[in-house]
């Protein structure tokens, strides 16, 4: 009976912790280049540039799903074999030593993309190719390629429609695969891809409005192709000034896009996203900077409410008024579930430990234990 209640309590606590109040525990990035062919060199360079940036800002390789639809580095037309550049000065080789491409070439399909997002993989798919995010994850989804009104072309044959994307995001939300999701798209008419999104906690930014094209930034006349798109170029220019400890907000990123330089209008959709952009640091998505929690016990972390209070008190960005409101909400929560202030599992361990300490004759207990075990073994073997 006790065990049963214990299990129930455990389940309850998990269910409770997956609510809105879950804390941000990890960062993931899904970076997709959907275009094939040599003349789409810039799309691969875009994606690799973003890959480099998020890695520099702290997202580890194991939490980046990199999808590249073609291999420009080893294309016979590439004048610099096994190198990819996003600038004509050729200072930075994006295809350096530690690039882990998870999905490459013809693996980059709409099906695989949706599988990655929704987590519905075949059994044989290795963990490195899965998006193993949870309810505490912030996910950055970056896509680039050729788009149109409510679609994004994959390879040369398929397309991802805005419905597909919205559906996948909805599934992710229901499966608690993210806490917050940021979708960044650099295609023509990128804004149209977000039209069908409905799920909460999704922030979307696109390089161009409906009817607008996204243009390439410049041509590398040695390689003979355009090497980077304007939107991505200016995004990178923004991030190049930042390091892992910077506190620049998403708002400052979005404000940095100049329609004159972009030759298109960057669009962001915030109606599904609660926090004020001015208070969200870009590293929430583009980096992997999380709150450090100082807890009394290792297992305290399971209980979310106590830690939540702590976060709020430590958060430098939060203003006082909001802080108060949050505290009020938390107090209400506390009143409802006061009996579960202590973790039951911890309590059980502590009790057991105390009982063990009370025992004086440890040796006899051990000996008796061995004798009982022997008896059990004999009985069981005779039965067989």
């Amino acid at each position: 009976m006790k065990v049963l209640t214990l299990v129930m309590l455990l389940c309850y606590s998990f269910a409770f912790s997956s609510g809105d109040t879950t804390i941000h525990t990890n960062n993931w990035a899904v970076l997709v280049c959907t275009s094939r062919f040599w003349f789409n060199y810039r799309h691969m360079a875009n994606t690799l540039s973003l890959y480099r940036t998020v890695k520099r800002l702290g997202i580890p390789d194991e939490r980046i799903i990199l999808m590249l639809a073609d291999d420009m580095a080893c294309n016979a037309r590439n004048e610099y074999p096994a190198q990819v550049f996003n600038n004509e000065n050729h200072k930075l080789n994006l295809y350096g030593d530690n690039v882990e491409v998870d999905y490459r070439g013809y693996e980059v399909t709409v099906e695989n993309f949706l599988r990655v997002l929704t987590g519905r993989h075949e059994n044989a798919v290795p963990r490195s190719k899965r998006l193993l995010s949870d309810e505490g994850s912030h996910i950055l989804l970056y896509m680039t390629g050729h788009g149109g009104d409510e679609f994004l072309k994959f390879q040369d044959a398929e397309e991802l429609q805005s419905h597909d994307l919205a559906d996948a995001v909805k599934q992710m939300k229901e499966k608690r695969r993210f806490k917050e999701l940021m979708i960044m798209v650099d295609t023509c008419q990128a804004a149209t891809l977000f039209n069908q999104l409905q799920s909460p906690d999704v922030l979307a930014i696109g390089s161009s409005l409906k009817g607008e094209n996204s243009y390439s930034h410049h041509l590398d006349s040695d390689v003979g192709v355009s090497v980077v798109d304007r939107f991505t170029y200016y995004t990178l220019a923004f991030f190049e000034r930042l390091n892992i400890y910077d506190n620049a907000s998403l708002n400052s990123l979005f404000r940095s896009y100049d329609p004159k330089l972009l030759m298109s209008t960057a669009y962001y959709r915030t109606d599904l996203y609660q926090p004020h952009l001015a208070e969200v640091p870009v590293t929430n998505f583009f980096g992997s900077v999380m709150e450090t929690l100082h807890t009394d016990s290792v297992y305290k972390a399971f209980s979310s409410k106590t830690s939540n209070n702590k976060i709020n008190s430590e958060m430098p960005l939060n203003q006082l008024s909001e802080h108060d409101e949050l505290q009020k909400a938390n107090i209400q929560n506390d009143e409802l579930k006061t009996e579960k202030q202590k973790c039951p599992y911890t309590q059980m361990r502590v009790d057991l430990h105390k009982k063990l300490e009370k025992l004086e004759n440890v040796d006899t207990v051990v000996n008796l234990g061995i004798a009982v075990m022997l008896l059990v073994v004999m009985v069981s073997s005779s039965l067989l």
Partner: protein, 697 residues
């Protein structure tokens, strides 16, 4: 429901005898209306067809690069002075070698290629190639089977070098061809080797090749076309038997013939003569056999790079005599005025172009139409089209004399840069050229008329034919019914059979006349072209007499009783012409267009001359005169003479027959469908019109 019922009631119009008759559908009504007023509509449609043809230069669109992958001019040229000096050295070496030695310059070029790191081989070929065989029409490129009596007296040697793409898959290649006469080649011709040598030196060391590069130095001693065709034949259909040619001469060509995958594109480079203009001139030749054109993108890339990067003056062929023709100038002025007027009415209407542009456009368009209609390739690139490879010939005329050293350096650099840019563009391709047009007419190097536009002129021209045929048939039937004797009264619908018999007989005659030259060629002994044409003419005319004599009712001079009604005969003739023209428009549009311009008015206007003379009315006399003139022009030999005069080659007089024979010989040697058209559509229809003209009614 109620309204539907009322509609039905309205449709059911009561006829005289009270029975219900369903009103015909609108399209049928339209058809009946058109047929009933066919004389007016035929004139309107034909005039509109001619007008549409004249308007075409106005409708020309600017060319644009359709294929994304090409990206011409996006890469910086990598040519260095070292490459140019390599090319110059090659030209100098060839000159010195030819001064001091006799014979194989090929070896020198081969040595140069292998020094660059290319795989080199030599190919021997026979100069004989095209022989007329009636069964080989449309049968694709001949596999020039090895002849039994191979003589070492005349053979050519091609040199080819292949640069393998360092990281390519070796499945595709780009071909560069420089025809060069190793015996008599002039200084200008050697310059083309210099340009390609410069380029080859660069390509041998670049890292961006995805397709192999083949440089073919074709031995143009026996014409430009034949060596290229021979090389292509061997490239595509390898022979596993050792040719006797291998033993000829000192040059050992026993080493294997090497290949490099399917060809993405081919460029033929020629340098000839001095440019008349201040700039270096680049002429583009694109027409292959039977009016086939390479993909427009290839021309666009070359034109773009030549004009915007290397500053060449680019031109395509034009009919020079048209530039000074006054009637065309007047038409151009009218169009210009109309265009200006339209622009004042609505500023968005900008179809007017200056008269000078119109003249240029028309002259180029006429040349484009003529070259396509002739069906003879305008250069060695034609051989590639037979294998579905897009190819063009670039003829460069430098503005300096060939011995000017300083200018030569610059010329090599620019020529090689143009080729490098083009090759780099084609190198970027992922699949064959397919994005842009294959069916088009050029009005300038940067303007084209697509198939959707130029078809309108032809469609309007031939649209009147079925209309007039139907109306004539109805008239003819009425006339037959009115005549007292009507033995075939039971077979009302078979009235056209007599006429059809005559039309069929004359078409059969046309087929035989078309095949006759093959047999005349088989006649032993050497004959001059004039003799052969006389043989052909006499056999044809005697055959015609036999046809008239044997098939009753066929001859225009037969008695009235056997003769068919001329209206029905004309109706069937027009139908036959319509079918012939439509079929030809699928095979070679330009031929059909020019053919329609001649045949349609003739067919429409022709009427029996006797009643016209008898009536002595001005209208009928004028009609008779017009049909006489048109029929005179329509005779193929006459037509040939006129076209010769038009293209400024001067009338030839007595040797006309011989010239005509030579011309026809060239047509069939190149497997031009125009030859078939003349023999099997134009000639029979012309004869039938003649029959109608002299009809005894």
């Amino acid at each position: 429901m109620a309204t539907e019922k009322r509609d039905k009631e309205e449709e059911e119009v009561k006829t005289d005898d009270g029975s219900l008759k369903i009103k015909p559908r609108p399209i049928v009504q339209l058809g009946i209306f058109l047929v009933a007023h066919s004389p007016v509509f035929s004139v309107v449609f034909s005039a509109a067809g001619v007008l549409a043809l004249l308007i075409l230069p106005l409708l020309a669109k600017n060319t644009y690069i359709s294929e994304n992958a090409l990206m011409p001019g996006s890469a910086r040229s990598m040519l260095s002075n070292r490459d140019v000096s390599d090319g110059s050295k090659l030209v100098k070496d060839i000159k010195n070698y030819r001064l001091n030695h006799e014979g194989q310059v090929q070896k020198l070029i081969g040595k140069y290629m292998s020094e660059m790191g290319a795989e080199v081989y030599y190919q021997k070929f026979h100069p004989e190639g095209n022989q007329f065989h009636p069964l080989h029409f449309f049968s694709g490129p001949d596999s020039y089977t090895l002849l039994d009596n191979v003589s070492c007296a005349s053979y050519g040697v091609n040199v080819a070098g292949i640069i393998r793409a360092p990281r390519g898959d070796g499945k595709e290649s780009i071909v560069l061809v420089t025809p060069y006469d190793f015996i008599n080649g002039g200084d200008y011709e050697a310059l083309s080797l210099g340009i390609t040598g410069t380029l080859f030196s660069l390509l041998a060391r670049v890292t961006w090749l995805s397709k192999d590069i083949i440089w073919l130095v074709a031995d143009s001693r026996y014409g430009d076309y034949r060596p290229v065709a021979a090389w292509l034949t061997e490239y595509h259909s390898p022979s596993f038997k050792d040719s006797d040619l291998l033993k000829c001469g000192e040059l050992n060509t026993a080493d294997k013939f090497r290949r490099a995958g399917t060809m993405a594109a081919a460029l033929v480079l020629k340098v000839d003569g001095r440019s008349e203009r201040f700039e270096d001139t680049l002429s583009i030749y694109a027409e292959a056999s039977n009016g086939q054109m390479p993909n427009l993108d290839l021309i666009n890339v070359v034109n773009y790079l030549a004009v915007h990067r290397q500053g060449f003056y680019v031109k395509v062929e034009k009919v020079v005599s048209l530039l000074s023709s006054s009637w065309l100038k007047i038409i151009g002025e009218i169009f210009e005025a109309v265009g200006k007027l339209a622009h004042t009415l609505n500023p968005d209407w900008n179809f007017g172009i200056p008269t000078a542009d119109y003249l240029e456009g028309s002259a180029t368009l006429a040349s484009s139409l003529y070259s396509q209609a002739l069906g003879i390739p305008t250069g060695p690139h034609g051989a590639f089209r037979d294998y579905q490879v897009d190819a063009i010939t670039l003829k460069v005329s430098p503005r300096f004399p060939p011995d000017s050293k300083t200018r030569q350096h610059d010329f090599f650099l620019r020529g090689a840069k143009l080729l490098e840019g083009t090759i780099r563009s084609v190198n970027n391709l992922l699949e064959k050229f397919h994005q842009s047009f294959f069916l088009y007419l050029l009005t300038s190097p940067s303007k084209f008329i697509s198939v959707g536009v130029y078809m309108i002129a032809f469609a309007l021209l031939v649209a009147s034919l079925p209309m007039v045929a139907a109306s004539l048939y109805i008239d003819g039937c009425k006339a037959l019914n009115n005549s007292t004797l009507n033995p075939a009264g039971n077979f009302k619908s078979w009235k056209w059979l007599d006429a059809a018999k005559q039309v069929f007989a004359l078409h059969l005659f046309g087929l035989i006349v078309t095949l006759l030259p093959y047999f005349i060629c088989q006649v032993p002994g050497q004959h001059s072209p004039s003799n052969r044409s006389i043989m052909w003419g006499t056999t044809s005319s005697s055959l015609l007499l036999i046809t008239f004599a044997t098939i009753p009712g066929c001859s225009p001079f037969s008695s009235r009783r056997h003769g068919t009604n001329w209206a029905v005969l004309k109706s069937v003739t027009i139908s036959a012409a319509f079918i012939g023209l439509c079929l030809m428009s699928i095979i070679n549009f330009a031929t059909a267009e020019i053919g329609a311009l001649l045949l349609v008015p003739t067919c429409l206007i022709v009427q029996p001359i006797k009643p016209a003379l008898r009536s002595r009315r001005i209208k009928s006399l004028l009609g008779a005169f017009c049909s006489m003139v048109l029929l005179t022009i329509g005779f193929p030999v006459m037509l040939f003479a006129i076209s010769k005069g038009l293209f400024g080659e001067g009338l030839v007089g007595l040797s006309l027959g011989g010239e005509f024979w030579t011309w026809l010989e060239s047509l069939w040697a190149w497997k031009s469908a125009t030859y078939l058209y003349i023999g099997m559509v134009h000639l029979p229809c012309w004869l039938l019109c003649l029959c109608i003209l002299f009809h005894p009614s």
